[in-house]
Symmetry: C2
Subunit: 481 residues, 2 copies
């Protein structure tokens, strides 16, 4: 794999050369890829899906060694990653992703309307910063990569330093299934980030990671002569509101499981739980969390970050319950009254990445909206209740706070489907109009082009009146049926 | 109009108070507006449309005095602005703008898919920076304002200092037609920009103006604790490629008219024209431009900017033709060989706002792509040719350079329709996935929310299985028919 740079390369010049080469190769390979009909790209994506499954036996052990995640979780994650490639094959065959719109001339309009036809086109080379916590689903072959490839964009991934070997192996598997291996570049090392973001041929950046990392990337983008779109997922506290009609035992067991899933290293980890002061919720949660245990974290940096952040919480709040320590990591749940919690904002509303949460007691659910409105944006918000009426007033608060609302469930786990939205107000997303998971995530890597009075012979097939590809079209303001 | 601040207010504290008040009032008024069913919002927009037409006799004279634009143009622009409100009424009644997607549960999916339903919701208060060059269509009641109001967002406009009285009058007309006048706030003065962009309740910014202005806004946004989306249109040179089969006389007359329309003060002004060295194109253009004349520009600042920028071009390039001077403003066309032009990039590719352009002579059309690829992003790119074959190789170059491709026409003038795209790579747009004109511009002011396993009683009607509003839905991956 001569075109990747190994971890440990300390010479910035070498890193820079590797980035330049990867981007240039990707751009060159991208010319044929963007011109490949979407149905053919779909077949390629299915081939990648098959290849990932076929190589699962090599992939998961590498990831297990590097991330300390268990086999079953990693096998499941490979299956999910492969399924993402299949979803985007479906997206390409459907054709709705190009958002074809045709307006025939209307000389009577104000102003008069010529023949105008618009559809989405691929942007160009996409830079992807892999995440630590999903070594497959949000890494080299993750959601950003597959959606960009589907759109017709070549990709250069900056590997996460937490799993370099898994990254190399994954890239190798994907490349072999692509018509041109250069469609997926891989670079290693912290120093690779800046030249990648600043490369003139890079047209957009995808990122899943920390607030600090996201801010650094935005700064690099602003320094470009031509700032490019930045799609970053930077953090989320995922508030859960438990209403008094919910069942304390069910809430407690579900919460404890969600909190400690993957040692709490999910961007959708439930970090804030609002419970009624009466009804035994707090005690049930304490018991359930007390029965959990920690585990090894993904990297030393993440481990240190968790210990530091949960230590800060311990200085300010009462510990409601702790799970068993494994590898020095203890799930911890803190407790606060609603008023004290509100007084501690914004600090108490910040994400603590790992198996820790704050249980916030409230006496009157009518006091919740004012506090919820002060929380930072989240990927998810959850309600637990026996029926809808009790929650009605919360909906218009929650749907401005988070990109996904969950009923009587838990936020960890993100379905990969057409309707999924994985985003939300900052810092959940740097671009709240867009999702990083699901069919609509392809839109991030596209740009519309309108063709005015354009000759039919030169139109993309998606914009022709005879619609040879059978894509969904909106014609003269109405969906074509 | 007590809630607006008059031009000339020098006290920053007062400006700041006015901004705070306008944003807070807009946010308060927005609560009922976002909860108003889209069909009712449509009726309101039609009322605004009627009001603008009804008050045209007061509006155009104010604008004529402040902008020096002629009556016919201003009357046309009011009609267009009113038509935009009607288009968005249609958009709301159609319902496709919410992009309703329903996935029923699929326990067999990888990972298993719960019931997930997604649609777009309004963001919140939108800050709009009005442009100078369209005192109606891109100002207080312009495309940003109407699309934001349609989405369910209240708006606070920072008036352009070039037409403060027109801005006040327009705001007054619109406010009287809104259910709550506070849905449209208006603030004046350069100092209003920063507190507006930084106000915690502002959720997105729309801007049409200069590169420097756009960069300043991006900087303010980056300084927010929660950076928000920025939709800016910052400049465009709008290249035109004339191929040898085109008719020199038609090209020349069309070009001269487009170049000098509105004294060249269109963001879609054709600033670069590539013509064959042979065939008499250059001479025809010289003659046609020689017969044009200048006119008063919108503001002293714009006038000075034009004189400075065209003066700089005159130092570097041969003057091919000049029109007649009116009010000290002369249309000017410069000439350069393709090689010399390429050597002068990137400077020669920068927009010169006003009736000036560079005619670039080429000998071999095969030399064009390499130069076109070095141009900055544009709102439009145009081809003139007798038939499609000659242009085939240019399409994949042009559709990465500009957001709208025009065949045998001229870029000035933007139709307001479903298929329009008014955007492009930076600096044409800060967000190349989005348009600032046409039906799709509403998307900028929305954010998707996914509802997972959500009770039907609490779902928005657009996401219900019985689809009571009859909106276009995608159900289980297929458009519902």
């Amino acid at each position: 794999m001569s075109r990747t740079l190994r971890r440990g390369d300390e010479v910035t010049g070498q890193v820079n050369d590797a980035v330049q080469a990867a981007v240039e190769r990707a751009a060159a390979a991208g010319e044929a890829w963007r011109a490949t009909p979407p149905a053919e790209r779909a077949t390629v994506l299915e081939g990648v899906s098959d290849a990932l499954l076929k190589h699962a036996e090599e992939l998961w052990p590498a990831a297990a060694e590097e991330t300390r995640l268990p086999e079953a979780r990693l096998r499941g994650e490979i299956a999910r990653t492969a399924a993402q490639f299949r979803l985007f094959a479906d997206v390409l065959r459907d054709g709705g992703w190009v958002e074809a719109v045709i307006d025939h001339p209307d000389p009577g309009a104000t102003p008069p309307c010529p023949d105008v036809r618009r559809m989405n086109h691929p942007l160009g080379v996409v830079a992807v910063f892999a995440a630590s916590n999903f070594p497959f689903a949000f890494s080299v072959a993750g959601g950003d990569t597959v959606s960009a490839l589907a759109a017709g964009c070549p990709v250069v991934v900056k590997a996460h330093e937490g799993h370099p070997r898994t990254s190399d192996l994954t890239a190798s598997v994907v490349r072999q299934a692509l018509p041109d291996p250069d469609l997926l570049g891989l670079v290693h090392g912290f120093e690779a980030g800046a030249p990648l973001v600043k490369h003139p041929l890079v047209t957009a950046v995808g990122f899943t990671g920390s607030l600090a990392g996201g801010k650094a990337i935005q700064k690099l983008i602003d320094e470009r002569p031509d700032p490019i779109p930045f799609y970053g997922e930077l953090g989320s506290v995922n508030p859960v509101v438990v209403l008094s009609s919910a069942d304390p035992a069910e809430v407690a067991s579900g919460f404890a499981a969600s909190l400690t899933l993957g040692v709490g290293q999910f961007c959708t980890n439930p970090g804030l739980v609002f419970v009624p002061a009466e009804g035994g919720f707090e005690q049930a949660v304490a018991e359930a969390v007390g029965a959990t245990s920690g585990g090894p974290m993904l990297t030393d940096k993440i481990r240190e970050g968790y210990l530091r952040a949960s230590g800060r919480l311990a200085e300010r709040l009462t510990v409601l319950a702790s799970g068993g320590a494994v590898d020095g990591i203890t799930p911890q749940v803190f407790a606060a009254d609603l008023e004290a919690f509100a007084d501690g904002l914004p600090e108490l509303g910040e994400e603590c990445f790992g198996p820790s949460a704050i249980v916030v007691r409230y006496r009157d659910p009518a006091d919740l909206p004012a506090v919820l409105r002060r929380l930072p944006g989240s990927l998810t918000a959850t309600v637990h209740a026996a029926g809808p009426e009790e929650a009605r007033d919360l909906v218009p608060v929650l749907n401005r706070l988070a990109g996904r609302l969950i009923w009587n469930g838990w936020p960890t786990g993100v379905a990969v489907c057409w309707a999924m939205h994985h985003g939300g107000p900052w810092p959940a997303s740097t671009a709240p109009a867009h999702t990083s998971v699901g069919a609509a995530s392809i839109r991030r890597w596209t740009t519309p082009v309108a063709y005015q009075d354009w000759p039919a012979d030169l139109l993309p097939p998606e914009l022709r009146d005879d619609n040879p590809l059978g894509v969904p079209q909106r014609v003269d303001g109405r969906p074509r049926v």
